[in-house]
Symmetry: C2
């Protein structure tokens, strides 16, 4: 296949309107000129998007399949997204539902470094769901946050994730905070190893700073002893994540946070499908773990939308299968149900409610483990 | 005022539901923990968002005003957006309508380098609307694109803007293309100056590459003789633009392109208002010119939405007033109406339809000027 394909939901009046709109998308995302002035030859034959088919989907909607050549993209992820849903993101009634990569895309955007199987090795946990406390709130000192890191790691957490709101504020500047927290988790891991525990906690530092400092901050985290980084592609750009994932010197797994991405999925009429954004695109951009809001929490995702995300994270390509990570106002009593729905290749986030345990937060980690194991 | 404020449209059942939702937004965008576990003192008093008031707006909607302290942000733009509409972007029925900065925000995010008045000086055009052809399509060689640059600049264009789809593709790699095009516009400007023309064309190079190369590519453009850069904040991040605008070594104006940003404005129930995204946030992030889709073109913005954008670009703060730039499927015959609506402090884009003129594209530039002057 010498072109990759994107399937769009298109709202239209009838078949011919839908076909015209699909042709409009193909123009919009590539040459952005009227069809009659597209230069013959290379631009028309290769660069211009091509409508492969347009079939009815439901009431007033059609599925339009548009293929693109890698020459319209080049080698950089921003332009891949520009072709997939750049200007077409501004058209009403156009939603990208799925992307079928070809060899060109897979070669240029190879995806995650670790993914599902890699995280099993890194944590040393051969089976079972991952217990992941979220360290917060912002405004706390680096010492307070490091203490939470220690307590949760010591109690058996698999991943100790910083809140995405921990950026580079004066209360706990990035470098100082990450150094303290990495040391705390390192200490807890040493004690776990001494006790014969074959598993370890991975500390994921939240990248907070300027967009052009992402690599420098990630390398600081790596050198300080962090085991992974958390990044917000909706604020730093998907390419920032991809660049880290493809950087030969950066060897840590990456967790993607959904902050600022809501409008891309909340409407059936625009943006991306849940699976495409939180699964396919996160995989293409090199995330190892994709955080998303669980159904029934503070956010309004449905069970179907959540299972679509999980399927897109763990199903066939692009790149390695990655770990879904549901969170957002979860509590201990919901974990067994979540485990039954999502299974063991999943990172279970628990944040604010853990703080109710105070210094006994380690007990909450034991209870999380028991809830997942008992499911 | 020691806090800055964001006004949200909140969909709710009644006043008390609206107040609860506003309190939820204040938590979500800052500490992201349940209210009852927010630590007393600094975190509760300073870091936590504060609901200032919640008043009815229309049927089923309320306006909630939430204030935030700069300490929740720090000095970097990604975290500013994270506080303004990070996790809350994923809540259904929450739309950010406006931002009232305080001195902290204005000091840390001072805005555009040039803006409305600066562009008058840079172009040498003391009055009148700006004529701005868009150079395209991608897939063309650097020579072909440079030829279009020359012809339009020679004919009197004020700004010669590259299409946002010109990235770093093999057909015309960024560095080669920009060098050619800058030279072409430079030659045209020399001829204009020889003929006694006090104005000049500004060539805006489209930044195409990786997110972490933005500064390097922008500096290449500057050194090659470009007069400005075009950047897509929806793909490279708003902070990439801000970093360029605040970079002491980078002295060119910046044009922001709306690609990939559609879902943030297309629904009344989520994202940002048109004015906030394409006006206020572009100003805060340092854009000198903000491109948006004109009403009645291929995109569905209304007249009211467009005038809201223009008011937010040119009205009171934050930072310098900037130039709005409507485009998207415009044609010569619509220019007089546009001029009457938007006035002279406006960059009028004309793209694909210019290609119909072929080698006589200079005639189209003359006609654009006549249409704007005659309005």
């Amino acid at each position: 296949m010498n072109r990759f394909e994107v399937t769009y939901r298109i709202f239209a009046d009838d078949q011919s309107d839908a076909e015209a709109r699909a042709a409009g998308i193909a123009l919009e995302n590539t040459v952005e000129i009227p069809r009659d002035v597209v230069p013959a030859g290379y631009v028309e034959d290769v660069v211009l998007g091509r409508v492969e088919d347009v079939v009815p989907e439901g009431e007033g909607t059609w599925l339009g399949r548009v293929s693109y050549h890698i020459d319209a993209v080049g080698r950089e992820l921003p332009q891949l997204l520009n072709v997939v849903l750049g200007n077409a993101s501004i058209l009403r009634g156009v939603k990208a539902l799925g992307l079928t990569p070809n060899a060109d895309v897979l070669e240029r955007f190879p995806g995650a470094q670790y993914g599902v199987s890699g995280l099993r090795e890194l944590t040393g946990r051969a089976s079972g769901g991952y217990v992941c406390p979220v360290i917060k709130p912002q405004g706390s000192s680096a010492e307070t946050l490091a203490r939470l890191c220690y307590l949760t790691a010591r109690a058996g957490a698999d991943i100790v994730k910083e809140d995405h709101g921990l950026a580079n504020q004066d209360a706990a500047p990035f470098r100082e905070r990450v150094t303290h927290c990495a040391e705390a988790v390192g200490g807890a891991n040493a004690e776990r190893a001494d006790g014969g525990d074959p598993t370890r906690a991975l500390y994921f530092a939240s990248i907070g700073g300027h967009g052009d400092q992402v690599r420098e901050l990630a390398m600081h985290a790596q050198e300080a002893g962090a085991h992974g980084v958390l990044l917000i592609p909706g604020l730093f750009g998907f390419d920032a994540m991809n660049r880290l994932a493809q950087d030969a010197d950066f060897t840590l797994p990456i967790m993607a946070h959904p902050s600022h991405l809501g409008p891309y999925v909340l409407s059936p009429e625009m943006g991306y499908s849940h699976g495409m954004l939180f699964g396919t695109l996160m995989r293409l951009a090199g995330a190892d773990i994709s955080v998303f809001p669980n159904h029934g929490g503070r956010f309004g995702f449905s069970v179907a939308e959540c299972t679509e995300i999980v399927a897109a994270c763990r199903g066939e390509g692009p790149g390695r299968a990655i770990l879904p990570s549901p969170g957002g106002g979860m509590s201990l009593d919901r974990l067994p149900d979540m485990m039954r729905l999502y299974g063991e290749d999943c990172v279970y986030l628990l944040g604010g409610s853990l703080l109710r345990y105070g210094d006994r937060i380690g007990d909450a980690i034991h209870e999380m483990r028991a809830a997942l194991n008992g499911a």
